[in-house]
Point group: D2
Chain length 153, copies 4
């Protein structure tokens, strides 16, 4: 599957345990291998893991930052966007994406899932908020990729 220049957002909490970090890294890497532009909120945890994976696979990463400084981006953000708009950056992140992948996450992530569904964007959930109608739940990074393939076909 070619994801060349497709816009995929990976959302999740700013602090991730090693297990979630690894999952997000693998998702980011798989997306990056296929040429996707990986958009995140630009901070740590799941955002950093997905960005790291995508960069190490050779793709482009965008960090839509809540604050007013490029320095708050994790080191794997190639393209920072500095919104200085706090959580309103969640709306921009989700609006920009063609598909949203949610991994773990707290209330901020829940807001992004809800916003994505409100905008009729497909949301793929991996070890994230459960039982939200409309989310495509999967159990592994491999299944994330199959689901993307299915959604885009």
């Amino acid at each position: 599957m070619d994801l060349k220049n497709r816009r995929i957002a990976v959302i999740g909490a700013g602090i991730a345990d090693p297990y979630l970090f690894e999952l997000a890294y693998q998702v980011g890497f798989s997306l990056g291998q296929r040429g996707a532009i990986v958009y995140t909120g630009g901070l740590g945890g799941v955002m950093e893991a997905a960005s790291k994976g995508a960069r190490e696979a050779g793709s482009v990463t965008v960090g839509i930052l809540p604050g007013n400084k490029a320095e708050e981006a994790n080191p794997y953000v190639l393209i920072p966007v500095i919104t200085d708009m706090g959580h309103a950056r969640n709306v921009i992140l989700v609006r920009t994406a063609e598909i949203v992948i949610s991994i773990g996450g707290g209330y901020g992530t829940l807001s992004e899932i809800a916003l994505a569904l409100k905008m009729w964007k497909p949301v793929i959930g991996l070890k994230t908020w459960q039982d939200i109608p409309g989310v495509h739940y999967v159990d592994s990074p491999e299944e994330v990729l199959s689901k993307i393939s299915e959604l885009l076909s």
Copy 2:
């Protein structure tokens, strides 16, 4: 309980059945009687019902609108704020409120509940999204008022 100039947001879907409309009206009326400033997203359904109640009780209503025209506000919005920012207005609405009351609602409302919890704002839930950790669930407009009283004391 005096709510003079306290900032209370009422959130919920833009289309409400008569039962939810009546609940939201009663909540708005009770808030209005006590002098609260009632903030909503300014459109129809629960937003309109709560605004109608507050206005008919003699209080001030603010509509934080997603579009670019004052005309999209329901007739009970005294003070329109025209954001032209789509769903990002949800963030402003929640940020402005001291307490958020959620009545019914779809994905947009879920995003507001999540954003409010992310910002550590108290959320009172009445016939709305269930089982979200942190929401203060109640069963009637009277209980909404008791809960506000408890939260502010």
Copy 3:
């Protein structure tokens, strides 16, 4: 002239000398006497002076705040709107207004004048940035009122 519930923004710098403060106060007072809703950026200087005038004349004032706290509003803001969006609140302020009155001001004010003109909103200028095509320049608070009357007729 009745300005009941008309939305008028007064823009200008957050620090004002006594002369500009007095001008802005008089403009705010005149607007307030006629029932206008006076919208400002909610901070000090010209924003505070106009809000003070409007409140003392018995009208409603709205402060569209850049930060994340109600406490940053000046004491004459009756209705705070807490955007947490920095200078992006300038866009909301201008979008909300039917007419924009600019008194004094620095770069932030210049951005608001330009945004208002971009949105085809009438801009009345009093002791503010000069020589901007499209601004209606006047020389006194009285002339501000005449110009509003002319623009609304």
Copy 4:
């Protein structure tokens, strides 16, 4: 001069005559040759010309779009950011940039110049709004590059 991964915004009107288009193209090309990330508002005119230049020189272009669709981006935007926030995207564009280059332009551009100066960002002006204190005025694409070099040294 190496501009590898430096964030440079090029601002200007959405409709450009051939002369301004050529100037903006040359500026974009020079920036692209040096590895800068070229940020624009993503639409036509000066934004398109600068993006075209940067892409043809092999660099990365970001379009911070006002609307809600990727399709409104010009064909030379590699990385769209879809804000759905109208003119508030101007604030994000300017906030993101280390240096802002203004070429031609109307009121929207004037708002961006003012916002950039408000944020203490260097603004380089080429055939744009005149006589704004703080703008570094130059007369050619070559001088834009010299000025950047001077500002970054």
